[in-house]
Symmetry: D2
Subunit: 458 residues, 4 copies
């Protein structure tokens, strides 16, 4: 599904482009750039010439951007090999001019009070490589911002094998981080009234509990559900990050129940709790630019406004690192851990295929696993500073509390593999989230309920 | 009118803010900041503390932005003296850390191939002062982007007397230039169907031919007129720059005729020419970030699409610097200029009160003034490079040609004072604008019609 | 102003029409109808032929409607005399076929149980004259519904001198009443964010307290004001009826104070009362089709939703018939009326020019006028059934109570002339409006406050 | 799928209602109506009382409509039996008052010139039963117009077994026909950008070539496809009728090819023909109120505007009555029909299971079937007046021509069963559609291409 969509975006972009060229017939470019898909040696020279002419504004800024758009159109028509060469070239050339930097450093060092500010600005400017200007010019493309986001996604993938691409990637991140400042984004509700074009992207981008079908999707947008996303005004049909919320009575403790299409719709007057059961980043090209904490808090505010009777805001979250961590514990380690001794009693393999379907077998594992998981979430740290589990870290740094562990709460293949079917509720207790966030950041202190504390006792 | 609007924007912002605080009751701030309007010494310390807490993200990023918004709210409630102190404080503190810069320079100089890129990024980052982060946080305000634009407008005005504000101003410009990249703006048509809230801003912002009344405005938006503006998606009811266009038959040669409310509406099927008769920058806070060349070309594209029969795109422009230049010419200068000798024949004062109403007097001045103006526009240069007249420079660098001088074309007080009633048509001849733009930039060559050339002959 | 607007609507319609003809070039009509503006004898025959072809659907229904649209276009181009002739012709011809009616009556009378229903439908159908079909076909015009509404307005004006137009007028009323069923209308808020095109209509249509300027209008749409209107989905920029509301503290007792542009804006948190100070029907062509009672109650519901703190919903209304009624009272009548004796003490003319500006003179008139007005509003009836004052009748039948009389509450020329400057608050006391409406309809019982009752005592 | 949707509409309506009651707390009804689902005898009396109070406007019109809405809410909660009783009751009572009709007849007969018009209106009014007023009051329901449309759909279904419901059904049809006047409807494009809520209705309502999945739907809305529908402004997410169009090169001759999801998307610059391959009425409750002819012609106009290069507008249509007709022909009949003799040569059963998959078998049947079909479409008439085939009749009365028969053009089960896989193109030849429509209506003359004529020769 995702690849299908990418293709269609590409096609769409190309179609729009054709339209755009048609519409904007003013000072139409005499020259047109046509590169071979794999970007041959010969193309290289041509490409450099073309990029030069974008950067020098030959024929005016408008014409330069028109050329940049054509460059982008060519990029879209390249194959994987061609795109790699394109990016390597962009990375290699159009970099900062080290001599200019040295001169600017000297000027700055010898500046007096009157000239120091200008010298600083000058120095900073020399450190922004010219290719950044070219990147910004790609916004001339009909869906130019999305183009850049996708280009960075490709760059990030390539960088694993070609670490020398780091400077270009850093430039792109800086540019995008600027444009995707949280204050410029819009929170919007997504519903069954949204366009099919947008909704099919939810299906493609959902990263926690895969959406099986349009019926599954419709169920997640029913009257007792809410879905919100951040959008950038220049990428109107593209969610950046979205969260799925269920309005329920009491803390939800099982995700399959939440997603059951045959479950009755709850009367909204009876709900008292909002459960955030899925948060997905939708744009790989925005990796490292984070919106999640803002999303949760804005959505809480929206829900409070619409449903003043809501008393509780909580997640129902996976524990992605639990079994990985558990597997690493030696018997000696386990001896000292809460629930560890009991766990050692169980014959290996301790979680054989289908264990969760055998009531007795499951019951025997229940207590030790709950205890070990409680310990894992609230005691184990990375470098002694942040919670070891990445999802725990995310919610704790936002000011949530580890509130409740749920047994056999996600029996999907993935749920069993990651966390033996366990899930956890992180509770956003509004009066305390600011102080909890602060305590977690400053002292690595992890807020937890009495229930969780009890489990951690050996 | 303008001041009235500013007030109402401020009020509106305050009202929205109150609403926002009410809505976003999540992790509401316990502390609230309340400064005295003139910002006393005591407030200073408080303010610094508050700014510190925004920059250190105490309690999480969301809380930090909430505090920044409250800071912005306080700024709006300060008086002129208080705002100046606020900006001076922001300029003085939260600047770059020179020691950190020096260290980063050393690290960069000694970096090897593997670390050089990261060292460069690091150095660049140390050159961005921390206050830039605070500025970006102001977008948490309901109309936060407009807030920053208006803050820069105030800063630019203050900078004249307080030149030490330059670094802060440079930071703001950089931030805004990034966000107002032309590729992120939207071109929209403004019409009588637009909201009154938007239209009253045209009245306030029109800078070339003042809009006298709502009737005058309605006339400028009639069926044979068009008005387009660039908008930023985060400032939806605020035009950044707008252009007024008249669809006419033949080159329009008189602006009072164009603006006559009693003139009949032209049948659109008979028009062959689009006259751009007014372009106004609407946001003082975006000074130095230019959109005008893009606006004209996008509007030409729109008009071509809607009216394929249009054959000619031209301006009807003022010549703001003509009389100022003319007054500076000595008799000796004039002797050598086209029309100059004849001009010297006319007794001083050469343009007495009411001269243009006396047919005979006017006729005598006609030829010499047209010749001198033709020379002024096409020969006189600033530093030998760009046209001396600023409007001429703008259109020539966009690729236009000096096409026609019009006698008694603007008899308003201002039109007589600036250019003895003369106006000029700059013609955008689509097949040639790219090469003309290039020739002007590269060789300072000014495109002109045969008519104009003829006038320049002595 | 109104006539200006009518013209522009007409022009607009014509322009749209041209566009429509251009767009809908499918099976374009070969024949075109061109009538002389005054509709000569010769045109008559042509016109009848054309109307015939609309009614017989020659060439299909689509073509027939196309012809009807052309007919409508011709109507718009007729002068007053031509339009009169056009309407008289439509009235005279295309009437019901009396023979067909007689036959249908006989068929109905002799029908048995199986055929009676069909016979009844048949009879009803013969009583709908064919011209109704033609009227409906005018909706093919770009603003066809507005066209019909305006045509009825002209017809109503003509009917005064040409009473034989009654049947056609009755047909149009029936057609429009059907389409303008209250359930098909939309309540919308009008604000300064509305289009200038819509707002200029408020200026034109306001019937109670004339809007002096765009500044006056802006003041009436400020943050402590609300304006709502009903719209028909096929007349999107045309309010049918609109109400202006002020949110205030306490019962407003003076309309000039309410409309004062320099008065400060009230903090919405302090308001406890919504004052309906102006209700205007905007479409003369919808006379006799009433929306006012629905408008008030829908607006009350909207306001309750937006401002739960509002405790009181009241009007500040004129008393249009008071002085007319007072002038008709003989001295003998006055002897028996509350306040009448004191009124007789005042020398004639009892309300000389400028009386209200003389404090002492005004004070002497105060009590007698208040008493007489209270009596007029609550005791005087038309045919013993409905309140004599038309505005009183409207609000009483909606379930309001006569709550308070206000002295020197409208010192405009009109306010003094109609009601000696008096205004009245009709209070909508929500728990009682249904029973009050019923009591008024059934028993002509007029609800009134204790204050008003006290005034009525002699 | 359809039933699922109905349910959700009902649920939605109920939810909205609850919201509506909550919002409109003004003069909330003291009494509430609660009927048992099957509508017992006891409920009957209660129901009549309630209906009476709606019709007498007790407590004012607003309250009466509020009660009608509650009545509607109760109707939705009734089971099938209850709804039948409800409709029978509404049909039986609140009918015309025959005595009043008789009196009105007499008054009309004895009226003079002055009173005749009023008497006619009066008579007409007595023939409109009071229940029509009640029906209109249901528009107070949140989706009131859709409620009435669905109620008529139920009524039409019931009428088959309960023919005495005819009068009520006639009243509803009249009311709806009035509101759904073609001039009040809006043509809108439906695309992948439309809401999922709307798109799922296409899936449910498509009546010609069933939509198999969301992927199938997406394919039908691709860049070389168009879909248009008429909407009523008071039923915004409910298409009334919709048409699916393929933009192709040359006359499309096979529907499976058109719907193939794997077929490449055509470049719009190469298309010359618009194929209308599916038209579906979406609202059973609007049976007998026709929009199809308007839809086709409006869509042709839209397409002409968007794609001036289109040269041909045609359908690719089923021939639903062909085999039914063919089966009725005796051998003697066949002897005289074009292709008939050859058809008789083929052994019975003439169209055995799978015949179309056997190339040789198919080839033998090709010519005779094409000839017989050509004859069926262009010669066979109903009562000698209209084409026997209903789809042929529809397009011919709109002015189309029978242009081309297509062999093995619809190999779906249904296509084989109805028409042995044959399909036909009806061509809309714009310059001739008006005269063809007229010739068909007036003289039953069927336009046909030379190809078709050739096939009809024996």
């Amino acid at each position: 599904m995702p690849s299908q969509i990418s293709t269609s975006i590409l096609d769409r972009t190309l179609n729009h482009l054709k339209k755009a060229w048609h519409d904007l017939s003013v000072d139409r470019l005499k020259d047109t750039l046509e590169l071979s898909p794999e970007l041959t040696e010969k193309d290289h020279a041509l490409l450099r010439q073309w990029m030069d002419s974008c950067l020098t504004n030959t024929g005016g800024e408008v014409a330069a951007r028109r050329r940049a758009a054509q460059l982008g159109e060519n990029y879209l028509a390249l194959n994987a090999e061609g795109r790699k060469k394109f990016l390597l070239l962009l990375n290699q050339h159009y970099d900062v001019d080290n001599n200019a930097v040295e001169q600017a450093i000297e000027a700055w060092r010898h500046a007096d009070d009157d000239t120091r500010a200008a010298a600083r600005v000058q120095l900073r400017d020399t450190l922004d490589p010219p290719r950044v200007k070219l990147l910004a010019q790609f916004t001339e493309l009909p869906e130019g911002v999305k183009f850049l986001v996708d280009m960075r996604a490709e760059l990030l993938a390539l960088k694993r094998d070609e670490p020398e691409l780091a400077p270009l990637e850093a430039d792109m991140k800086r540019l995008l981080a600027n444009w995707f400042d949280i204050g410029l984004l819009q929170l919007e509700r997504i519903s069954w009234q949204s366009s099919a074009q947008l909704l099919e992207k939810l299906i493609a981008y959902e990263a926690v509990h895969a959406i099986q079908s349009w019926d599954d999707l419709k169920n997640r947008l029913d009257s007792d559900r809410r879905c919100f996303a951040f959008f950038h005004p220049n990428m109107p049909q593209e969610p950046l990050i979205f969260v799925e919320v269920a309005l329920v009575k009491g803390l939800a403790d099982n995700v399959q129940k939440l997603l059951d299409e045959d479950a009755p719709i709850l009367d909204l007057n009876e709900t008292d709790t909002a459960i955030f059961y899925s948060i997905s980043n939708a744009q790989k090209g925005l990796a490292g630019i984070s919106f999640g904490n803002f999303l949760i808090k804005r959505v809480v505010a929206e829900l409070q406004h619409d449903f003043p009777a809501l008393k509780r805001f909580s997640t129902l979250s996976p524990i992605p690192g639990f079994r990985r961590w558990l597997n690493k514990q030696t018997d000696a380690d386990l001896e000292t851990l809460p629930g560890g001794k009991n766990w050692l009693q169980i014959a290996e393999p301790r979680l054989p295929e289908g264990w969760h379907l055998d009531e007795e077998a499951a019951e025997k594992r229940r207590e030790p696993l709950l205890q070990l998981a409680a310990h894992y979430l609230t005691v184990e740290k990375r470098r002694g500073i942040t919670a070891l589990d990445p999802v725990a870290h995310f919610h704790l740094s936002n000011g949530a509390e580890v509130a409740q562990l749920n047994w056999l709460a996600d029996n999907s293949e993935n749920g069993l593999k990651q966390a033996a079917g366990l899930m956890v509720n992180y509770l956003y207790d509004l009066p305390h989230i600011e102080s909890r966030s602060q305590d977690y950041s400053a002292q690595a202190s992890i807020a937890q309920s009495a229930k969780i504390k009890a489990l951690c006792k050996t």
